[in-house]
Subunit: 413 residues, 2 copies
Amino acid sequence: MISVENIARQARLAARSMRRVSPEQRADALQKMAAKLVECRAEVLKANVADIEAAGELTPAFRKRLQVNDKVFDYMVNRLQVAAALPDPVGRVLEEHVMPSKLKVQKVAVPIGVLAMIYEARPNVTSDAASVAVKSGNAVILKGGAESLRTNMVLAEAMRDAAVAAGLPADCIQLIPSTDRAAVTELLQQDRYIDLIIPRGGKSLIQAITGNTRIPVLKHYDGICHQYVAADADLNKAVSLVVNSKCQNVAVCNALETLLIDSKAPQELYWAIAEALKANQVELRGCAETCAIIPDCLPATEEDWATEYLAPVLSIRTVHGIGEAMEHIAEYGSGHTDGIITESPLLATEFTTNVDSASVLVNASTRLSGGGDYGMGAVVGISTDRLHARGPVGPAELCTYKYIATGDGQLRD
Amino acid sequence: MISVENIARQARLAARSMRRVSPEQRADALQKMAAKLVECRAEVLKANVADIEAAGELTPAFRKRLQVNDKVFDYMVNRLQVAAALPDPVGRVLEEHVMPSKLKVQKVAVPIGVLAMIYEARPNVTSDAASVAVKSGNAVILKGGAESLRTNMVLAEAMRDAAVAAGLPADCIQLIPSTDRAAVTELLQQDRYIDLIIPRGGKSLIQAITGNTRIPVLKHYDGICHQYVAADADLNKAVSLVVNSKCQNVAVCNALETLLIDSKAPQELYWAIAEALKANQVELRGCAETCAIIPDCLPATEEDWATEYLAPVLSIRTVHGIGEAMEHIAEYGSGHTDGIITESPLLATEFTTNVDSASVLVNASTRLSGGGDYGMGAVVGISTDRLHARGPVGPAELCTYKYIATGDGQLRD
């Protein structure tokens, strides 16, 4: 019988040792983790086949998440190498000033401490989370979906060995070797040892976690993402941005779900967008005004505006000015990613100032609101939370800070 | 019967309006709030007298917190004026870069949204919290201790009037006009409208709150603060730093509670420190080694090392080298403020690198680990949390950020 409390305690001790690990050692550890995975490729794939066989009947989407084929494997290895090459986030001087008393005050980035990742049966999250945690000097406890346990155990063991070879404490990466739900319950009680929980999964999972722990939770809720096409939008740009936002990958959180078109936009723009989307097999659901312009557009219901389809379906609403567009986003959006397509810098500024989403875009695909496209490299997810980290969560976001004040005998009056 | 849900909903709407308020308007609002308080001075003091009379028998400490005399009142007004003059934290570009695709990515500070302050019967917190909230563009819900309700109502009403006069929404400052504990319970359930809860008070209050809400909580736990006097410390500097850290105000979270003296330090240093502390009526409790050197030093128990006295009592432990000092701090400290007194830059770096507290000091009084002495102006407290904000919490810490990505048609490959 495993003790989750013991795992958490070990993680705390590992986090303390991690403070003495240099940036070079962390980068070396990530390179060694990548190399070790390559060495264990056959073993990982074999364990994954066993996981898939044991799981029995699977939906195609579930199977796709669970499966580690050569392409997924190469990607996992690559992410570890990318993380190794990223700038080191620990020890960055975020602010520095000297007080009139000559006290020098520095705000310096330090690791958060102990992270716990709770996620679905997606083995690539195991290596991604470990890479970002090691890069940021944290210890991490991994609890992946039950169906992926065999794969995860091989991955975790390989990465631990590599970490030790680089001089890191083995327990900077720990996997909970259990498919028991009680293990999660026990994990949520370890507020003495765990600093942050990062759950990846459905809204109900995340809400169940936040309702049952004192540990801070970094939430990754859904993405009901919008593009607002202003009246002055460039037609070709609008068509390609909408198609890319919706179709490049319909199943992800930053895919477009609702299109807002300004009522002053020409009918040609509606038609061109509709045609391009239909050519990509996207089902369109519109408000009455939109349906009157676009042929074969199904009527949208109230529920459509609040739905994250994650499928080739798009809702379209005609809005009367930017104010109505922003009202719609405030009412139905999830604060993930929302964009405007316009040639007017004034309208763009109005939009970016007043739309309160983690990512606000001007003339860019919603699919670009991610760590890679913001130049952040490896991320563990895109936070829809407002506290601590918002948007892509990479190594820098998994740091906190401390103040270092250096004086020469300064006293308080 | 008041509806806390309604108050929270109004705060959310006010937070949305606050996005359109300019830095100049916020500064003007703070100046007007200060002026309006001055206008209402007699009314505030009268309400405070009524609060104190109604409260009946009070401990001196409780009475001191509850009482608004001329000195406290002037301080409250001054803090509003100081906040007005601080640099505006909203809209700061925290990071900015252009991707190879020419996508311009900016990370911009924005208000968190809706804050809820839950605090004891300390009317100065009412104006401090309002000043920091307005400065950072947030809406705030205030729930102060029941005994201070009359005073708080006068303060809140005056500040609301002033905010409106400056063009801010009245509901950017709301006080829950109730002494009912059920109001707090209801407040904790408003996760739809409230973004952050900041409790000020005892550990049990804070733990009760974190255990009963899905809303993130910024915790302000106790300060078990240490100074480690290295063997090479300058005697005079050490004496004045220890005395100031302990005696300048014994009742606050960044007062010194445990002194660690290196066993290689000369006995003269022990004696000089002990003499100076005794001259300030501080009771000393030491480990066996310390008691063998300092006459009249009482023996410390295990409990002493884990105690925040908030009183003229100091525990002293002799440690054998910096490693033992850091171990002691890791074991018994609360991660608030810990310092080293040394003339060696190497020892200082060893200490600041490995001690993981919100403030780590070198040759400076623990009493300097605060917003004012770090140049931050107004603060609502000193966070012992690791997430989002650590150490002093001022207007900048009550912001989050969003990404603004500006392109010219950039797509995802």
